[in-house]
């Protein structure tokens, strides 16, 4: 696990070009399958850095970008056959920011197809393997971004989180990942799946790096009409927080044991209480109904006309669209588009979609109430340790693994996952949840914990 600080130390005595080349060689030998496309221009950028031509807060630092974030001139696939050969004509807002700050974009990371999944097993480009056990999943949907950080294949990474897609792989790979407040980071150039829920967010190997990357990507952008126009600056606080354990968000016993060890660590500096989210039992169903409904609308654009998978010959439009989509989409994407179409169809709208939006009100109110009593809330990020590849074959069983992460997206509040150690050699993640635009508080608690357990979370070598 390489931090920005460590990378900068190496840059003092070594050429950036050589370091990036070494990274590329490592990625090419790697069994993780964390990258879909490498950016060969990164070497040219490294040369510019060595000539002293690159300035900025991320000058010379390698960043991996999830493959649903557009990069001008660099293939962006969403891990789908549908976009296998798609070359975006523009950069996402976050990519512009990275470039302005001198970052070196090394490549595009593997993910679940169109970010629909919890394990990266739905990728058209093959599953991402867990750096701590190659027979297990790295989590999803930003599995490549999580795995490349734990596997020394990048220093920073961008992910996106619709229902846990940053926090799950951060937890499973033992790295840090943050889903910002809805509206903090521009979604311009994020290929949409469920746009009222998703945010781009930073992933890193330390709290300090996570904060740095968030500072770079957060802020105003007129091209995203839901952008809040709020900047982010990290500031160290040394207050005593009141922390609420969310009673309903649990996990398997072995994960809970680790969780309570950390609660004891937190208690040394902060007050810990218990809180309850009474709407919790409806959140998962509501989340999936909203996400699938938005997906069915967002993914209607893939018709094989302007971009994406297409057929040799044009035929009647109904046949053409239906065949393009049958060939271009994988099974999980089809499942979600169809279920979304069902939930929005005549006669069912009120029962499913509208009802889910009502649950969103309940979930939002529950978080507001809990966050009035407490500064921050905590829970285990995932209900279990990383699964074996292929272990969860049934879609509904897979959806239920998101139970602790999706309520956060319904409410739109920020949350991060941080590593808190290992059980049976596999990483465990702690989820920290804050109020709107209170990322700073979350990161401060994370830093307190990291300072206490840094040796333990960096003790284990990857497989």
């Amino acid at each position: 696990m390489i931090t920005v600080r460590e990378w900068r130390e190496r840059l003092e005595s070594e050429r950036c070009y050589d370091l990036i080349l070494e990274l590329f060689e490592r990625i090419e030998r790697s069994k993780l399958n964390a990258f879909i496309t490498l950016n060969r221009e990164a070497l040219e950028k490294a040369r510019e850095y060595d000539r002293g031509e690159v300035k900025g807060r991320l000058a010379g630092i390698p960043v991996a970008v999830k493959d649903n974030i557009t990069t001008k001139g660099l293939r962006t696939t969403c891990a789908s056959k549908m976009l296998e050969n798609y070359i975006p004509p523009f950069d996402a807002h976050v990519v512009e920011r990275l470039k302005q700050e001198g970052a070196i974009i090394i490549g595009k990371t593997n993910m679940d197809e169109f970010a629909m999944g919890t394990t990266t097993e739905t990728s058209y480009f093959g599953v991402v393997r867990n750096p701590y056990d190659l027979n297990r999943v790295a989590g999803g949907s930003s599995g490549g971004s999580g795995a490349c950080l734990a596997g020394d294949e990048s220093v920073l990474a961008l992910g996106s989180d619709t229902g846990g897609s940053i926090r799950c792989p951060a937890s499973f790979c033992g790295v840090f990942g943050l889903k910002p407040t809805y509206g903090l980071v521009s979604r311009y150039g994020l290929i949409p799946y469920a746009n009222s829920l998703e945010q781009i967010g930073p992933m890193a190997n330390s709290v300090e790096d996570l904060a740095l990357l968030l500072e770079v990507i957060a802020g105003r952008d007129e091209r995203d009409s839901t952008n809040a126009g709020v900047e982010f600056r990290f500031k160290r606080m040394d207050g005593r927080f009141r922390i609420g354990i969310i009673r309903e968000m649990t996990a398997k016993d072995e994960v809970m044991e680790k969780f309570y060890e950390i609660v004891d660590v937190i208690r040394q500096r902060h007050e810990v209480v218990e809180v309850s989210l009474s709407s919790f039992k409806y959140a998962l169903a509501a989340y999936y109904i909203i996400a699938m409904s938005e997906a069915s609308s967002n993914l209607a654009r893939y018709d094989g006309v302007r971009y994406g998978h297409s057929l040799d010959k044009l035929c009647s439009w109904t046949k053409y669209f239906a065949r393009v989509r049958a060939e271009g989409f994988g099974e999980e994407v089809k499942r979600r588009i169809m279920l979304g179409s069902y939930a929005l169809s005549a006669g069912y709208y009120g029962r499913y979609y509208l009802k889910a939006l009502k649950v969103r009100t309940l979930v939002k109110n529950d978080f507001q109430k809990a966050l009035k009593e407490c500064d921050l809330l905590i829970a285990p990020t995932m209900p279990s340790l990383p699964f074996k590849i292929g272990e969860l074959a049934d879609p509904l069983t897979m959806y239920k693994m998101d139970v602790n992460t999706v309520p956060i997206n319904l409410a739109g509040v920020p949350a991060m996952s941080m590593p808190i150690g290992f059980v049976r050699g596999l990483p465990v993640g702690l989820q920290i949840i804050g109020n709107y635009f209170e990322e700073n508080k979350i990161l401060n608690l994370a830093l307190d914990i990291e300072e206490e357990i840094r040796d333990e979370i960096r003790s284990k070598k990857v497989a």
Partner: protein
């Protein structure tokens, strides 16, 4: 109950062609998932829905022209292009 007829109807709405063997598999899965979704029947109707979590208002900007993408860039990912335009499938059947 989700029937095979329902699956065909949904697939048609979503414009996704299904193979015969996919229909029964999706039917079984949809049945199970929708049964799970029915937990929401317990939620009272009188709650206000939340479409957006932040109290955002419409954003206005000055109405001034700005550069858009070049035609060449816009067309570069399309397979069927004619005279600088996208060429789509026929929408009126012969």
């Amino acid at each position: 109950m989700i029937t095979e007829r329902d699956v065909h109807h949904i697939a048609n709405l979503a414009k996704i062609e299904l193979k015969p063997e996919e229909v029964e598999k999706f039917r079984r899965e949809f049945q199970k998932i929708i049964e799970y979704f029915n937990i929401l029947d317990e939620v009272p109707e009188e709650i206000e829905p939340t479409y957006h979590v932040l109290p955002l208002k419409n954003v206005f900007r000055e109405d001034v022209p700005s550069r858009s993408l070049d035609r060449e860039e816009v067309l570069m990912n399309a397979r069927h292009v004619e005279d600088g335009y996208f060429k789509g499938p026929k929408i009126v059947e012969d």
